[in-house]
């Protein structure tokens, strides 16, 4: 106990929140060391999310005073996490201010996105910069865990070999429900996985002692778009994803929707056609993903099994009446589900990722037609958008998972890197 003060716990200020907790008590204040570590994390996070900034900007945004910011930046620089550099290409009058920037090339996370039909991996530098990226096709119906792990290893090894430094952590996105110990994938129906301790297995496969953090591809996609993409200013957002299936990540009131056990957001298994729909892998009939997933599109368009998103898109431009009917049908079903989500969540933005990203240009008019039948108030507030991060929303979200411990405690157990400058 190095000081005393009045500790204020913030009390929720919702329209009906009753402040049954949050008494203001004279309690031991946090220690100077805790304050310092916390504020190091705040500054590094600001640089990571908002990009290079002058000390003056950091002072203004953080609310810290100038001398504190100077001291903390020096510590971060000594640890090899940031550097100070004159800005390049900034015209205009006056002396250019010196910018603090994250050392993206030296401080990086290994991100992996495991899809049902694709794999991608990247070295992502502090600040969210993709330094190096590889991808490969994942043969459908060959998603056995050992096969996938081996493919990931082969994709990742050249990335690791080309890097001068070790990653700060490993993050993985998967099309399934994640929870429990060992970074368990509880259920990934389209890979056929049940209770796979992916974090442990992948660490072993890569012979790495680094922590492996695993997240759902939808949750990670909406996180990345919320940090740096089209949902950056949105308190309420939905990110659709998936290739064969249809998943989502949802942000409500600025926070991720998790549900009681971390399994919320399973939009693909919203039954929209229980009377006449097809049987879903989950056992129900007429789930949204059976109407708008890849299989539904392949069937409707008469395209061969295993077609890529681009091949499916090409098939939609066929001039035949059957192709036009198929596109209209898929677009309408996509719109039915989107309108449901708009009525349920009243989001500011729905982001079309995964397969819907590729097909959005041809489906948009039908989606908007269905959406026009949603309730007026939420409909008027929603934007329909493509991901600002292209195909990499979930991959970049996986990198954030890996960065999280560093951003929370930048110097925790960290050995200073040699400064190459």
């Amino acid at each position: 106990m190095t000081g005393t003060g009045i500790r204020v716990d913030r009390v929720e200020a919702g329209p009906w929140t009753v402040p049954v907790t949050g008494a203001i008590t004279r309690a031991p204040a946090v220690t100077q060391e805790e304050v310092r570590r916390h504020n190091l994390g705040v500054l590094l996070s600001l640089l990571h999310v908002r990009g290079p900034a002058s000390r003056a900007e950091l002072t203004a945004v953080s609310g810290l005073n100038r001398s504190t910011v100077r001291a903390l930046i020096t510590e971060l620089a000594d640890a090899g996490l940031v550097r100070e550099a004159a800005p390049v290409g900034r015209g205009g009058a006056g002396r250019p201010s010196i910018l603090v920037e994250p050392r993206s090339e030296a401080v990086w996370a290994l991100a992996v996105d495991i899809g049902v039909e694709h794999l991608s991996a990247a070295r992502v530098g502090l600040g969210g910069v993709v330094l190096d990226r590889r991808e490969s096709r994942q043969p459908r119906d060959d998603g056995a865990v050992v096969q996938v792990l081996d493919r990931v290893r082969r994709l990742v090894e050249p990335l690791l070999a080309a890097a001068d430094t070790d990653p700060v952590g490993i993050g993985v996105a998967v099309p399934g429900m994640v929870g429990g110990p060992g970074q368990l994938v509880r259920l990934a129906p389209n890979l056929g996985w049940v209770d796979v301790p992916l974090g442990l297995l992948l660490g072993a496969q890569l012979r790495s002692t680094l922590p492996v953090a695993v997240g759902n591809e939808g949750d990670l996609g909406v996180m990345a778009e919320h940090l740096r993409g089209v949902a950056a200013d949105a308190s309420d957002a939905i990110f659709l994803t998936g290739e064969v299936g249809l998943g989502a990540g949802v942000i409500v009131g600025g926070r991720p929707l998790t549900g009681a056990g971390g399994y919320a957001g399973e939009v693909g298994h919203m039954s929209v056609n229980p009377g006449a729909g097809r049987l879903c892998t989950c056992g129900r009939r007429g789930c949204w993903e059976t109407e708008v997933g890849a299989d539904a599109m392949l069937r409707a368009l008469g395209a061969p099994a295993g077609s890529t998103a681009e091949e499916i898109l090409a098939a939609t431009s066929d001039d035949s009446r059957s192709a036009k009917t198929a596109v209209r049908r898929i677009g309408r079903w996509l719109g039915v589900g989107v309108a449901n989500l708009v009525n349920l969540f009243n989001p500011e933005v729905v982001v079309f990722g995964g397969l819907t990203r590729t097909l959005f240009p041809v489906l948009e008019q039908y989606v908007r037609a269905e959406l026009s039948a949603a309730l007026t108030a939420p409909r008027d507030q929603v934007r329909l958008e493509l991901p600002a991060l292209g195909a990499d929303s979930s991959l970049l979200g996986a990198a954030e998972l890996a960065f999280a411990p560093l951003l929370g405690d930048p110097l925790g157990g960290r050995v200073a890197l040699p400064d190459p400058a």
Copy 2:
């Protein structure tokens, strides 16, 4: 500025939250007066939500020290909000401790629940005690605002006349979307209301200068069940409500789901049967409420229009094959929607309020059968429950709206009441 200290803003600790705000700064601490007012609110809220408690219990729960609790309780007692009394009927050894209890009979809110087919109103004492309660039928298709306001006035006047003190505020639950200035009901389709400034109009109708707070019946229902009912320990909960339509209130991560504009939770307009369903008042086809609302039940059971919930329930016990088919059909559609919500929100509890409360006993088996097809992980975590507060969840939630300003600042502008004891 009466003191300085280290102010700690709590930083979200979600699995991937980046602490871009929340620097710890040496800032002016809150004043002693602010601390006192805040802590008065904390103690009064504890008594309101948890009921009578000894000073020792209040000290333990609030984290405040004994002398502070004693001083604050004295202030609350002097203002006529609480009293100290020996416990009644507490057996056992030892000296019974003196209990602090809210003065429910003197400090009360006027609560009104406006339904499509019913009206109810109550004097609700501090602590959530119903002191006096009236209800009346609301003729269907006679929901013109002036008619409803007049009916509310006639219901409320005897309640006010029988009371010795004035209410602390007025709270109203409505089956519609609420938002904007004047406590506007943006849309209540089953009443035919669009942009009705209900708060202003009802205040004028009752010739009251008290603030009138208006909320959605689902939001208020889940709030009440979360404070004192079957969702009391649940971080994630759904409360179904409605007579003609179907609404809901949703709690996610311990907080109300509002959406970007306060319109989230419109479960009744989740389209579950867009191909073959009936046209809904919202303009879409096959909305959940067209399959399980009162009209669907009346049609399926061949019951006369305007039947009460109890009459609908009676019709379900008819021994005919058609009645059995109707019950099975309605139960299944109810289950389809509940399974969707379980997959989307992963709640700990779904509470069946409104019309579904009356019919739950006969529909439960079909709901559970449909739910068994939901995804395993969220299904295993959910309880299906009847409201602990009976038909009054939304009414009691409306009282909470009215109590909120008092609980936030118990002595704000308040004249001490004479103590009748």
